[in-house]
Amino acid sequence: MEEESNPVYKNQSYGQFRELFYSYGADGSFEKRVGYHGESDRVTLQQAWDLFNDRIEEARMKVKAGLASPILYYMEKTLVTPMDLSMHAGIMVWRVKRHLKPKVFNRLSEKTLKKYTDAFNITLEQLKNVD
């Protein structure tokens, strides 16, 4: 197994993880190599995170402007859809969607809020105040 140095991506955390890759050589042998991810993998991963970060930022703006409840922000931050969140928190989808409105969110009971904080793994304080 050959060694590789990877100075360019050291600042990104996945740049420090090496995985095992297989490859097929011209001589008909399958080889194993421990190394860093190639260019094309990084590009696609970066693309995904750019989209996620855009969505998170957009959600944060909406919450700050009072157009949506903090649940939207944490939902985007944990990369889930209302459908997933409904499974994670054990609340029906139509209710989750309704809770995205600030007006409805402000009236939520402690019990329901607890379900959300458990699903997001945060404290109640954090859920109410989006930084």
Partner: protein, 339 residues
């Protein structure tokens, strides 16, 4: 918390794919030399499904591997090994208690976990993906020692974090699923297991009468890929294309959506049983895998420059059709093979 330390002498070897790596390491622990490709091949790891009506992280869902726990379950069944699989628990506490009991007895135990809260994983990879597998082999105070075959070294994880990932929610929720080998007979009939494994994989790749699975699924994906730019716009089309590349190259696949590992399996089996047909099939599989890699390489250029595609989607679609035909050739060949 009790402070006793348990360490099972379990050898962590890095592998391309989490579950077949875990299976092969478990076999090694019980004194049977089994490589990762061998476990992958016998356990029917290879698969393809394209499910555009389901979305995974905002893009159509597709999978290059079989359902979670198939590799372990099928390789145990085909090899006739005495193993235990607990599919789900009612209570998180109970699942952790059974794990502790196992560790005290000296049994390394495999578990299905979700990736999102896995603390030692690189943050960029932490998405909602519940089909990961790790093996616990030690406990030290409040921490567990686990072997994640995608990582280079064994990792530590705290009790609370381990419980959380074992009870990750969402699609394919693990529900504390765990599995281990009880004991292995000394003479395993690997030959018949390989035969059964290949037969099942061939069935799953070309004989299932459903258009979204196997080789037909690749053709369907190729047809859809051509339509994406017009239907969704260039941004989204490149994001969807990125999903294909992510699924085939990231998340511990060993590269090219497991095709390399399967090729290595065919080669190893061919050498073991002195079968020239298997060796020929492995060469074809190797070429198909190289084509997959070329596809991801070219496709990634479209992902880099998102609004203006550098490569024609029609051409990429052609490539996928070609790959599907190449793979089909392998399976048709394997279908006729007698080991």
């Amino acid at each position: 918390m009790e402070n006793n330390k348990i360490m099972i002498d379990y050898k962590h070897r890095q592998a391309g794919h989490c579950e077949s790596g875990a299976t092969s390491n478990l076999f090694n622990f019980h004194g049977v030399e089994m490589s990762e490709p061998m476990a992958f091949g016998i356990g029917n790891g290879l698969y393809f499904s394209y499910l555009p009506f389901l979305k995974l992280q905002f893009a159509p869902m597709l999978s290059f591997r079989n359902l979670p726990n198939t590799v372990f379950h099928r390789s145990m069944k085909y090899l006739g090994v005495d193993a235990t699989v607990i599919k789900n628990f009612k209570e998180p506490k109970e699942s952790m208690a059974v794990l502790d009991q196992n560790l005290e007895k000296g049994i390394p135990t495999g578990m299905q976990v979700g990736v999102f809260n896995l603390t030692f994983f690189p943050p960029e990879y932490r998405m909602h993906y519940n089909m990961h597998n790790i093996v616990a082999f030690g406990r030290e105070g409040n921490d567990y020692w686990v072997s994640d075959t995608v990582m280079e070294f064994p990792q530590r994880i705290s009790f609370e974090d381990l419980q959380r990932v074992r009870w990750a929610k969402g699609a394919f929720a693990p529900k504390g699923k765990m599995y281990w080998i009880n004991n292995v007979r000394k003479e395993l009939d690997i030959k018949s297991a390989v035969e059964k494994g290949i037969k099942k994989t061939v069935y799953e790749m070309i004989k299932i009468p459903f258009p979204l699975i196997g080789v037909k699924g690749i053709h369907w994906l190729a047809k859809d890929l051509k339509k994406w730019p017009k239907k969704h716009g260039n941004e989204t089309a490149s994001f969807y294309l990125g999903q294909i590349i992510r699924m085939s190259e990231d998340f511990g696949t060993g590269g090219a959506g497991f095709r390399y590992i399967y090729g290595a399996f065919l080669k190893e089996a061919g050498e073991k049983f002195n079968n020239p047909d298997l060796l020929a099939a492995s060469v074809l599989m190797g070429h198909a895998a190289n084509h997959w890699r070329e596809f991801t390489y070219i496709g990634a250029r479209n992902c880099k420059n998102r609004s203006k595609p550098e490569e024609d989607y029609g051409k990429l679609s052609e490539m996928l059709h070609e790959i599907a035909d190449m793979e089909k050739e392998v399976y048709v060949k394997l279908d006729k093979i007698k080991i």
